[in-house]
């Protein structure tokens, strides 16, 4: 029994009918998506509290606000993005029309994660809809309350002949992936990313994989520790650390560590009070499984700040670890929780070496008063994105492509990059029957004279030699 075959066939037929092509249709879908967010803001906020104990502030800035911005941006720019993109022509094609036509791929699958269940579901959806695709959405089963709204409320706002939500766990997702899609957009772990890409390979389906890694955070000796601590702490403990671009670990000298520790404590107290567990600003761990995983990591190195946990609440205190070994679990896997290990290095060179020995991360951070130091870290490492002297602010610009490299992912999106990701860029050249005399140089029989002429033209380099 294939539970998905009917749905997929229906969507494919709708795509084949051409209804998602006109800009009006797409704009209507996007406007409805905006209404979904506005009409159900409170419902969504409550769901986010239930799933992740997310504060209203975090829900607004990292989930609802961001999604709304992307919708507005797409609506404002839709027609411009859809236009044929003219390209420069060579001499031989001066009289022709040469352009790139942006076409929808067809049937798109979006597999979304649980940590920002609104943002990471809707922002890719905006791109897929704007580009004119039919979409199958597979929200995460872990963020259950949000999943319910996405499955039951969202479809009412969209044209259901072109959009469907499918539910399930790994088994259902595996079944779903056996089908052919024209594009797959996946956000999640590298381990599952491999599975998704292998499934896509069977159908030659292009993919964007937004994965993860351990995002290093280098803190130079030349810095103001409190400013650094505020920024690092905020981005680390946001959403209780469950952010793919959060600073995962700090690299600094023992001296800087000494200055950072009290500053981190001050930041944590300022943000979350003396008893962080009672702060409405601090989130909770998504599931018992992840809670237990993180509680295990508390045994690594030495706890200097926090370290408390409460299983009944899936609460883990904002924690800082020191004396951490590279071989310990906390330095072997992406933490994805409110734990910040500090690893000591004796120099910038050593920090860069440390970073380059490992997989390319999704994000990389460097803090220093010296612009030179920041630029050196940038120049001598690689990562999906980079921010100097702050946390994942780079994500807030829709004009910057958001994506990984190496084990942290492939492809990117946000803003126009979303539209381009979900579009096939078709190369088009329109020419006319004229100029046949010029083109006839290309026809056989080939004479040594023609060849000499061509070679002379190549030598002179005075014109494009593809005299087609």
């Amino acid at each position: 029994m294939d539970p998905f075959a009917d749905t997929l066939r229906r969507l494919r037929e709708a795509f084949g009918s051409g209804r998602t092509r006109p800009a009006e249709f797409r704009a209507t879908q996007l406007k409805s998506l905006g209404r979904f967010l506005r009409d159900n803001k409170q419902l969504l906020q409550e769901a986010l509290v239930q799933d992740l104990h997310k504060s209203a502030f975090e829900a607004e800035v990292s989930e609802i606000g961001i999604s709304q911005n992307e919708i507005d941006l797409a609506l404002r720019n839709l027609r411009a993005w859809m236009k044929d993109e003219k390209v420069p022509k060579n001499l031989a094609t001066q009289l022709d029309s040469a352009f790139i036509r942006k076409e929808p791929f067809g049937l798109v699958l979006i597999i979304a994660p649980w940590n920002y269940p609104v943002n990471l579901t809707l922002v890719p959806l905006v791109g897929a809809l704007a580009a004119g695709n039919c979409v199958v959405l597979k929200p995460s089963e872990f963020s259950r309350s949000t999943e319910k709204i996405l499955a039951e409320v969202l479809p009412r706002y969209l044209d259901q002949s072109c959009f469907a939500v499918v539910l399930g766990g790994p088994q259902e997702t595996g079944q779903l992936l056996e089908h052919k899609f024209d594009y797959i957009f996946f956000t999640g772990s590298p381990r599952v990313g491999r599975i998704v890409m292998a499934a896509a390979a069977k159908h030659l389906t292009p993919v964007t994989l937004e994965l993860g890694g351990k995002n290093p955070c280098y803190v130079d000796d030349d810095c103001d520790p409190q400013t650094v601590a505020n920024r690092v702490a905020w981005f680390r403990y946001f959403n209780s650390g469950q952010t793919c671009v959060a600073p995962d670990y700090v690299l600094c000298s023992p001296d800087t560590q000494e200055r950072l520790l009290p500053a981190l404590q001050r930041a944590i107290t300022r943000f979350y009070g003396e008893d962080p567990q009672s702060s409405p600003s601090l989130g909770r761990i998504i599931s018992e499984k992840h809670f237990r995983r993180l509680r295990g990591l508390l045994g690594c190195g030495r706890v200097v700040i926090g370290g408390q946990s409460d299983e009944s609440d899936r609460y883990i205190a904002p924690t800082v670890l020191v004396d951490v070994q590279e071989t310990e679990p906390v330095m072997q896997e992406e933490i994805f929780g409110p734990i910040l290990p500090i690893v000591n290095v004796r120099s910038l060179d050593e920090a860069i070496d440390f970073i380059n020995r490992r997989e390319k991360p999704l994000a990389l951070y460097a803090f220093s008063n010296s612009n030179q130091v920041v630029k050196r870290v940038l120049a001598q490492t690689s990562s999906g994105g980079f921010c100097g002297n702050d946390g994942f602010m780079h994500m807030t610009l829709a004009s910057l492509p958001f994506g990984g490299v190496g084990a942290s992912g492939m492809g990117s999106y946000h803003g126009k990059f979303s539209f381009d990701t979900f579009s096939h860029h078709r190369a088009c050249l329109l020419r006319w029957p004229g100029l046949e005399k010029i083109y006839s140089l290309r026809y056989p029989p080939y004479s040594p004279r023609n060849l000499r002429m061509l070679l002379a033209a190549m030598e002179a380099r005075s014109c494009s030699c593809t005299l087609l």
Binding site: V87, N90, A98, K202, D224, L397, P401, G406, P444
Partner: protein, 453 residues
């Protein structure tokens, strides 16, 4: 570990040393590549003649010229493309530096194919070098002479650690694919494309796959048939039909089928004479296996021209088939040979439906004097690329991305698109480490900050 592990590790170590980062180094390598081509023109032609019966003209005009132009273009544009690209800032980032920084990916694997063994292998190498990568080059073993030439020639001009040439067939390629690369570009067929992407998935390696398909060629009743047929004949029968972007089959109204046949014949005789076997300009099939395959496709078909072949020389005459049944074998696989089936359709709509029911091809061609026909055909189909009123040529425009969609491929390259394909575009935001007063609005506790809507 295989013998390739060492080669790949050396390339990686050379990449990690940082020597490919300066633009000057990359430009020097590209200039060396250019010198190599100029110094070894005769050898390149010789290899192409031995492998595919190409002559001097074919070698230059259909192969070498593309690579030389790509090198020129790359050298000229590299400083501009490699620059940081500033982006539009938000109100919160006005004082910051916001830009996209292009970086090499690392070690790139390029697997070439045999039909244009020089261009298809080397043109992507140009882009990969320009983007600052180390490049492992694997030419197709089927075009043996070119593979041997590249293996000897390239190490004499390019950095040996960074740009090794490896050889071998299927078992060797399978071994190489176990290594980890930062990008793999493969040109070839769909079946192997899937194997490559599956292997790449293990390492989360992004891929560019230039595959194939059946490129339809719709000829409208309202068109200049003389010119259309001459252009079609040129694109179809060059390299004896062994061109990924060649028009695979013709779709036309039955009322013009005979005229098309006559005009194709006329052009073919102008190009290759009465007996193409005697023409210096007509190619040969790459090997016996493909020869047998293409000959087999003609079985049971109505031959309007040609239809003969000579196994000893792997020559197949330029062949036109008429009234072809869409269910027959010749319409089930990419022909990749000098056989042009004509399938009759009664309208533009029928042609569009015919095309849309099949896998998306690498290229689509439409001949018409009517702008509306062209626009409708493009709007209601999909393909890697399109040329209207000509064939193949969209692949020669550097500013157009070259690639497929669906079964015909993933990703694209040529010109700037090559540079982008082989680069990581890294988002960068750099702010000053000033005091936090301006940022404190974002920090918790936030309860007081939230107003209920």
């Amino acid at each position: 570990m295989s013998k390739f592990s060492e080669v790949v590790q050396r390339a990686r170590a050379a990449f990690n040393s940082g020597k490919t980062r300066p633009l000057q180094f990359r430009i020097q390598q590209l200039e060396a590549l250019r010198r190599m081509i100029k110094d070894h023109e005769k050898d390149i032609v010789g290899a192409l003649t031995a492998d595919l019966h190409k002559n001097e003209w074919n070698a230059y005009y259909e192969e070498v010229v593309y690579v030389l132009e790509e090198i020129e273009y790359m050298i000229k544009k590299l400083p501009e493309w490699a620059m940081d690209e500033p982006v539009e800032k938000t109100s919160q980032t006005q004082q910051d530096e916001c830009y996209i920084h292009s970086e090499p990916l690392g070690v790139v694997l390029i697997i070439g194919t045999w039909s244009y063994p020089f261009t298809i292998t080397i043109q992507p190498v140009v882009g990969a070098i320009a983007a600052g990568n180390a490049v492992v080059i694997k030419p197709s073993e089927l075009s043996e002479n070119m593979a041997n030439l590249l293996a000897t020639m390239i190490p004499q001009y390019l950095d040996r650690d960074l740009y090794p040439v490896i050889d071998g067939g299927v078992p060797e390629t399978t071994e190489v694919l176990k290594e980890r690369f930062d990008h793999i570009l493969y040109t070839g067929n769909t079946a192997v494309g899937k194997i490559i992407m599956t292997a790449a998935a293990k390492h989360l390696t992004p891929v560019t796959l230039g595959l194939g398909g059946k490129n339809p060629c719709f000829v409208d009743k309202d068109c200049d048939l003389d010119i259309a047929c001459r252009r079609i004949a040129w694109g179809k029968f060059m390299n004896s039909g062994q061109t990924c972007a060649a028009p695979d089959y013709i779709l036309c109204d039955p009322s013009i089928q005979n005229q098309i046949v006559e005009k194709l014949k006329k052009s073919l005789k102008e190009f290759y004479g009465e007996d193409a076997k005697k023409s210096r300009d007509y190619g040969r099939i790459i090997n016996s296996q493909h020869f047998q395959r293409v000959m087999g496709l003609m079985e049971g078909q109505k031959v309007a021209y040609g239809g003969t072949g000579d196994a000893a020389t792997r020559y197949i005459a330029p062949t036109i088939l008429i009234d072809v049944d869409p269910q027959s074998q010749v319409m089930q696989e990419e022909i990749f040979g000098p056989v042009m089936p004509i399938v009759c359709v009664r309208s533009l709509e029928e042609a569009i439906q015919f095309i849309s029911q099949r896998e998306k091809p690498l290229a689509l061609y439409v001949f018409s004097l009517n702008d509306k026909v062209i626009k409708k055909m493009i709007a209601e189909t999909s393909s890697g690329g399109v040329t209207a009123n000509d064939v193949v040529v969209h692949t020669s425009v550097h500013s157009l991305p070259y690639g497929g969609v669906g079964n015909s491929g993933v990703g694209s390259y040529h010109g700037k698109k090559s540079f982008e394909t082989f680069s990581h575009r890294r988002s960068c935001l750099v702010r000053p480490l000033l005091n936090d007063e301006s940022l404190k609005a974002r920090y918790p506790p936030s309860l007081a900050k939230m107003t209920r809507h």
